[in-house]
């Protein structure tokens, strides 16, 4: 195959195996974890250093070639779907741990590092990296930074933004800036705070200074089963109100349990129950024991059918691996899966779940629920077959109605998966033109020409001041 001028130029900046351009290679990059949206990139680059990233950005920005950064491609909102006419910048090769400071509990890493690899590397020092998205065994720090990923333990430990102290970012002109840092406070605007969760539209983070957390001295995971999701939700509300400071509060419904139990991650969840609630408590033994007593009495009052507890690490890991494999395990139910991600005020979970169930029924879709109950972050999962065009249409329609139901209850469009392509056009449900304009201003302050991940997050009208559409531009000089 003869290389395009764009590819020839990129090859000058990277090693020969650092640029992919064959149609077969480009094809597999056409979507991320959300396979509904697809677009083929012109090329894929795999840099090994910040300098290489900067070189590629400088080159592409000067020619109006859009850049979409990608980690492991596990995102669920189409955040890494390529921009037509653009390139994908894959960070998987930048995966070194550069430094660990055990005393101040910080780690300096390259952003292609896999989330779980960091925790594994610092475990011997009694530390871990707290954000634990379900994709953590595959997803990268860079992707987590872009999406401000959450995870079950985000309930206590907070989302990614709380654990990112500083970043090295490549900006739209190819310049490299170090923003924030390990110190508690840094002068100036909190660029790190706003960069985290910007879904790759502000720049490309190549290094990160992360906060590490001491492994709690004592951990107990309680498992309660309930006749219905409703009973479980009631227990969650009461636990939150009573100040049970759980590290995680997770709910799974019967369909989810069945899918997990049929997989290699079978966790021994009770079958033939309506819902399972996982409550993890951590801290000193006295603290955990006091909280566990409280949680048990609340669960009992709310009609818990059975209770079991796990203290041994292997046993707890099994319970959590089951929970974290829920998404993949749904592959058994039907060929494709649409994972919705929305948030409602914690007091209204039960009410909104009932509406969501009705929506799925109306559209004749199979629904499974698994969610972060402690912070009201719902994940209705719709199983479907992408070869059935009508079913695809019904899935999208149901997804939108579910979002509307969440927003009407005072909630929001996404708790941890991001807006990406998937929800971009629903931003108007929550925000006014003025709100979106303010966000557009911040985006243009970072990326005046719209080089990074164009077409994502903000509805296109909010980006109106950006340069003409990249697809209409010449790809290379």
């Amino acid at each position: 195959m003869t290389a395009s001028p764009l590819v020839r130029d990129l090859l000058r900046m990277l090693e020969p195996d650092g640029v992919l351009c064959e149609p077969e290679d480009l094809l597999v990059y056409e979507c991320d974890g959300l396979a509904l949206f697809r677009a083929t990139p012109e090329a894929v680059v795999l840099p090994r250093s910040t300098e290489q990233v900067a070189g590629v950005v400088r080159f592409c920005a000067a020619r109006g070639v859009p850049i979409v950064a990608r980690g492991a491609g596990t995102g669920l909102s189409g955040g890494a779907t390529p921009a037509p006419g653009g390139i994908v910048l894959e960070l998987a090769r930048m995966n070194r741990i550069l430094d660990v400071d055990a005393e101040d509990r910080t780690a300096h890493v390259e952003t292609g590092l896999v989330n779980a690899d960091l925790s594994a590397a610092v475990r011997s020092k009694g530390l871990f990296y707290a954000p634990d998205p379900s994709s953590q065994f595959a997803s990268t720090i860079g992707g987590n930074v872009a999406e401000n990923s959450g995870g079950p333990h985000g309930f206590k430990y907070g989302q990614t933004v709380r654990h990112v102290l500083g970043l090295t970012v490549v900006l739209n002109d190819g310049s490299v800036a170090r923003i924030g840092g390990p110190n508690a406070e840094n002068p100036g605007y909190d660029l790190v705070g706003v960069f985290v969760g910007s879904e790759g539209t502000f720049g490309i983070a190549t290094e990160a200074w992360l906060r590490l957390t001491p492994i709690p001295p004592f951990v107990e995971t309680l498992l309660f089963s309930f006749r219905s999701l409703l009973d479980g939700c009631r227990a969650v509300s009461e636990m939150v109100a009573a100040g049970v400071e759980a590290a995680a509060l997770e709910m799974l419904d019967d369909r989810t349990i069945a899918a997990i139990e049929a997989s290699v991650y079978a966790a021994g969840y009770p079958k033939e129950v309506g819902a399972v609630l996982l409550v993890e408590l951590d801290g000193t033994r006295e603290e955990v024991e006091a909280q566990a007593r409280e949680a048990r009495s609340i669960a009992k009052r709310c009609g818990a059918l059975a209770t079991s507890e796990a203290v041994e690490e292997a046993e707890r890991a099994r319970l959590w691996k089951g929970r974290k494999s829920a998404f993949g395990a749904m592959g058994r139910i039907a060929p494709d899966l649409y994972v919705q991600d929305a948030v409602v005020p914690r007091s209204r979970i039960a009410e909104v779940l009932a509406k969501i169930g009705a929506i799925a029924d109306r559209h004749r879709l199979r629904l499974a629920n698994v969610f972060h109950a402690g912070d009201g972050n719902l994940h209705p999962n719709l199983s479907y077959d992408a070869r059935d065009a009508d079913e695809v249409r019904r899935v999208l329609q149901a997804g939108e109605e579910m979002l509307r139901a969440c927003v009407e209850a005072g909630g929001s469009l996404s708790g941890e998966h991001g807006i990406g392509l998937e929800k971009r056009d629903f931003m108007g449900l929550l925000f006014t033109e003025a709100d979106l304009e303010a966000m557009g201003r911040v985006r243009r302050a970072f990326d005046p020409q719209g080089v990074f991940n164009p077409g994502k997050v903000l509805p296109l009208r909010a980006c109106r001041e950006r340069v003409p559409a990249p697809a209409e531009e010449p790809v290379a000089p």
Partner: protein
Amino acid sequence: MIATGKAGEALDRAGLGPVREADARRCSALGAEALPEVAPREPGQVAEVLRFCAKERLACVPVGGGTELSFGGVPRRVDLLVSTSNLTGVVEYAPADLTATVRAGTTLGVLRETVSRNRHEVPLEASGGDWATLGGVLAAASDGPRRLLWGSPREQVLGIAVAHPDGTIAKAGGRVVKNVTGYDLPRLHAGALGTLGVIVEATIRLRPKPRAARAAGVAFHELDAAAGFLRAVRASPLRPSTLDLLDPEGAQTAFGAEFAAGWLFLVRFDGEEAALEAEGGRLRALAAERGGRFLPFANPERVLLEDPRRIAWGGALLWLRASTVPSMVPTFLERIRREAGGRPVSALARAGIGTIHILAGGEFPLSEVPTFVGAARETARGLGASLLVVDAPPAARRDLPVWGEAPGGIAVMRRLKQAFDPEGVLSPGRFVEGL
């Protein structure tokens, strides 16, 4: 007609009044003799006032409780104060969701009182204490002794509404505790000192009030021993909610002879009664191992030094805030003490966080302020810390490098300022690099 100047008259004429004369202390904190002040009653009016200022090129400074007005550089120009004092009230308090949506001028005192009936607490602190307003606390990103438990004030903001000089009000975030919908503008405005817009409303996270609290002091004669204790506590499974370290001067000023002659740790635990008993025991054992005196406080509220100025002898002439990593705290304290060289300087370190407040007392020679600040800045640079001047007499402040070196990403910061305040009417010159 009061002396509200041309700006005041223009506002009055535009129907954006009433305009009153600002409090003299506020004026002097901004290095001005007298200033007009307007206090809109609705968020929309704040936006109107800002639009008017942009049109007329009037420089305005947003003010809440006025407790942090001296924070930052002296503005290049001030024509008007825009107060949130009439923008008060709790819009929505959702006890079951542990959130509250509040107008920016509401004081922490009122907010604390409101949520206490459900045994909730507001995870925010400020040197102005109950008098600080929510808008001010967020704009200054104020924190206090319990940041160790709660996290940064930025963590507590779930949603925000901000009035901009283009006359619009933009919301971001929401009212739910977990949210990644759109860019995290609450974080951008937290700590921006109102230089990008005026916060008019915010939704914050609340917490259930811990069932119990215990507190103790641990005193050491030598800084080395104190440093060892700090390392030991941080490496232990203990999770204090407060871990402050006072130098001997600070300890004596804040607590009197009771704690004289020693480096004093203030440690507090919040949680379950049974757990606190055990934690207290472990702390006592760690103190004993390192030769520290263990001094239990009967009232755990006493260890909460929300206002660092309480350690300044004879009032605070100069207030510096350094920010470093926890392991550097003892070294930093030792260097600053050396530079103070017997002058009335005391220090309070939020040792678990890495923030150090340095206060020069009322008797510190005014003429030596610039050289002392310069020396402190050198020390900070050498240790990789940042240092900023929180308060100094306006005359001295005008010439002091208040913020220090330009931070990383300054080009983006300039573009942000340009995007939100193209006329440069929001506190011009108060923020880093004259933004």
